[in-house]
Symmetry: C2
Subunit: 219 residues, 2 copies
């Protein structure tokens, strides 16, 4: 039995139980949900997307979803992984955060032209507590692969958060700045543009660069 | 009966039916799911986050989720809306896409310091079909508010896609570049840094700027 990815966009009635109804239909057709997002929540109707690995053909699954009580409309769409791909997340504030983004975006552009799909998501933030929260939340973001610490002063609970997300498989690259967080990173880079470039190289399949093979950890 | 937002991070067995089980528990406790993300999918275990509006107290809901067949571990976490906030999405390729990001990130930094939560997500892309797909997908991204078109040449199916996402409530700002897509945008800006700044101003509650009150559409 062959399975194939299917991405759908559903307009459904709002309220408790709707996701339970939709996921029930999908489970009955032996569909494994790889992604689900509630795109918009209105008082009357909501919009939800699903990416599903499901046995072929998909006709019966789609027909039963369209017939579900809560479903108002359903379209088959492109998958997010194909459109937006891997995510590099940049956190930090001030002038340098934009320079880190310039490096990462320029390098992602070069790889995406050759068939990669890498997005660069930046959240400008200052302060130990907001930064530590943002670092922790990276481990909860779908498709996030690398985190770039672009603050001027990063320590305390940020360092703890960095160790936590590294343990969950996120690559962490830090600017060579004051505070203890850089010590906890996989890689420490002084030049902000180069920090952005190296983060994208570290996650690009089109790059011949392997973080594990570097002889130095600070650049 | 008062309700309160609850964000949880669940480690669960992988496979069909898991989301159906979890959403069933949430629905039984009259929880309304505002956000759900499958963060990681492994062969044995997966990680899923939920944001739920649920009646107080949450103890019985949390206890029943922890006891569910598929649940291996459960933590209460911070909500994404509080950490990452509204999203401004930038698409396009080449030198100018980084300059647009610089403007947006610098302006978001200024607003976030005053209590806003705005992220700037950039996907460097070239070509009519990939750009049109990325534009359409913006309407499916949670928390996306504004789209910035930062390509050098944007027309054909990109224009159609821009009209579709504007109809779904996304603010579209385009560089003043060749092609028909700028004609379909809410606002057309020649300078890339200023385009980024204006997109963030358009979605920031901390900005005294209202797109609807502008007397000109092209800058």
């Amino acid at each position: 039995m062959s399975t194939l990815s299917l991405a759908i966009h559903v307009r459904a009635r709002s309220g408790p139980g709707v996701l339970h109804e939709l996921t029930g239909v999908i489970a009955r057709h032996r569909g494994d949900i790889s992604s689900v997002e509630i795109v918009e929540r209105g008082p009357e109707a909501s919009r939800v997307t699903f990416e599903i690995e499901a046995p072929l053909p998909h006709d019966a699954l789609l027909a039963e979803l369209r017939a579900a009580d809560s479903v108002l409309a359903l379209d088959v769409v492109e998958t997010f992984s194909r459109v937006y791909g891997k995510r590099v997340i940049i956190v930090g504030g001030g002038a340098q955060v934009g320079q880190v983004a310039i490096g990462a975006i320029s390098e992602a552009d070069r790889h995406n032209i050759r068939g990669e799909h890498i997005s660069v998501d930046t959240i400008p933030l200052v302060g130990e507590v907001p930064l530590a929260e943002a670092v922790r939340a990276v481990a909860l973001l779908p498709r996030a692969r690398a985190l770039l610490l672009a603050g001027a002063l990063m320590g305390g609970s940020i360092e703890t958060a960095v160790r936590e997300v590294r343990a969950l498989g996120i690559v962490v690259i830090s600017l060579n700045r004051a505070g203890s967080a850089p010590e906890a990173a996989d890689l420490v880079v002084s030049d902000p543009v180069q920090a952005g470039v190296m983060a994208v190289m570290a996650v690009a399949d089109t790059a011949s660069f392997n973080l594990g093979r570097l002889k130095r950890r600070v650049f």
